[in-house]
Amino acid sequence: MTISNEELNWMYETMYKIRYYEDKMVEAYAEGKNPVFNIGAGTVPGEMHLATGQEPAAAGISIHLKKDDIVSSPHRPHHHAIAKGVNLNKMTAEIFGKETGLGKGKGGHMHLFDPEVHFSCGGIVGAGIPHAVGAALAAKKKNKDSVAVAFIGEGAANQGAFHESLNLAALWNLPFIIVVENNKYGISVPKSHSTSIPSNDLRASAYGVKGYYVKDNDPIAMYEVSGEAVERARNGEGPSIIEIETYRYLGHFQGDAEVYRDENEVTELREKDPIKLLREKLISDYNIEESEITAMESRAIKDVDHAYAFARESDYPKPEAALEDLFD
């Protein structure tokens, strides 16, 4: 599978947009939490899990997905949502708790649902996996060629839901792919203290599915193996597990003191940043013009800025709206 320039551009722009989105969220989240950090205070309260550094996983597979394909994402969902094409205005408004949000302010950052593009996420580790399996089942029942992708962290792969879901998806030969983002930590616990084997693609043989491993947070390698996995799923050749080695530059959530890792760890990681590397590659290996790149960057910035502006300008829901939307 060779990547076209168009695809490369899409990947770059998407990754850039995600990065910029998360950078802006760092700022928005900090607003109103100074001088003393209080998780419940400020413009955006509650827990905030950002995906800075993990863009390749989201972009590398989403490029192969259509609007009708399904994505289920965990507590760290922004990169997946953006790559899947979730309505950025409504998503941001939701994170800001506004009535114009995807869930009218009821869900928040861990609970983004955009049925238009078949995107959902949730705050319970591993719980989104069976949802994707069920969506894949629905696609099969409806004779659609859709594929369902569940993103999880490497920590989540030790949840029972992982095992049950893969067995079920394999048994029923569903168009299902699980992407394990190995960012090395589940909160403070390093992978070596949570997982008894080196990587989760090795678990593929436990279900009779295909396993892939992507090293070094490499977006193009991710593009390649994902392309194969998606094609297999669409062709009725069954599920896959893709594990990608990736990096979480920020704390588990904003406010995490990160006592469990070396201060220099992230500095080193940022040096081999995948967005920076891809930018260089676009120019050096693919002859894409600097101007084209800056145009993409500007467009991404504009979209994101617009979304934040939309969120800020929107109204809060009425308090009593809490009683709505329980039952249809």
Partner: protein, 339 residues
Amino acid sequence: MEKTKQRLLTGNKALSEAIRLEMEKDENVFVLGEDVGEYGGIFGSTEGLLKQFGPERIMDTPISETAFIGAAVGAASEGMRPIVELMFVDFFGVTMDQIYNHMAKIPYMSGGNVKLPMVLMTAVGGGYNDAAQHSQTLYSTFGHLPGMKVVAPTTPYDLKGMMTSAIRDDNPVVFMFHKTLQGLGWMDQLDTSIGHVPEEAYTVPLGKAKVVKEGTDVTIVGLQMTTHFGMEAVKKLEEQGINAELIDLRSIVPLDRETILQSIKKTHRLLVVDEDYKSFGVTAEIAALAAEEGLYDLEAPVKRLAIPDVPIPYSRPMEQFVLPNAEKIVEEAIKLVNE
């Protein structure tokens, strides 16, 4: 019409007929769960369905409740209308996250943008010595957690009508059927477990209690087996000159508070009977309702008859000791009217 009226069905046949009729009508409806295929459901809820609909629509699953109930959530969010069976309600603990954090909350968290038109059906109840992990009803465990309708019909008529309503409902519904009220050949045979059931599809609303018998002296509230026991008790009380009103709750969420309050207004005395644990159970909520909204109507303290906060013991004498029955209801009702 005459003929239809006379047709008698067991609870389980009424239930599976409701599913059959909806499946014939709507191809998005399908069933998944353990042993729902060839076996027809351990408690007969899917009897005969595999034959008619085949394994694509009546799907046996691995013993993976988190995966297949979660898959029902995912399928429902994509427009299907799954009916998923949790074999015994007692097994909820391996999959409650999917039920209460996702099935029940996604519609709300999405601001109503995601509908989950699904039914989780599950068998409840004891009395046949199946011990602590297979005999519970857990009505309030589900009722306490918002976002799902929770219903527990008693009669074959209601089993069919409420299952039809549940399948057509665009909200997630937990449908609890009582094993003993399924009218299965290998369990106790009860009058209540067999009854008139029209052939055609019909609905019984979710969220409405039923006054099974009107009375003036005391209100007895039950559901499923405790309604059944209540019927027996009401007859015995009548022999003793006590005219009891019996309410069959049928639905835990929504809870039909109005029917209960109306009844208390009339009888001024309330006895709540439940096969679930006492504390924080159905008897608690209904007694609390009386204390909150019916206090001035009460002429005597509310009485609660339920499992006395111990796991269900296996051995017969002990199980019978903790379970409600007609005699215990009669006894409590007499105390109550003499208060």
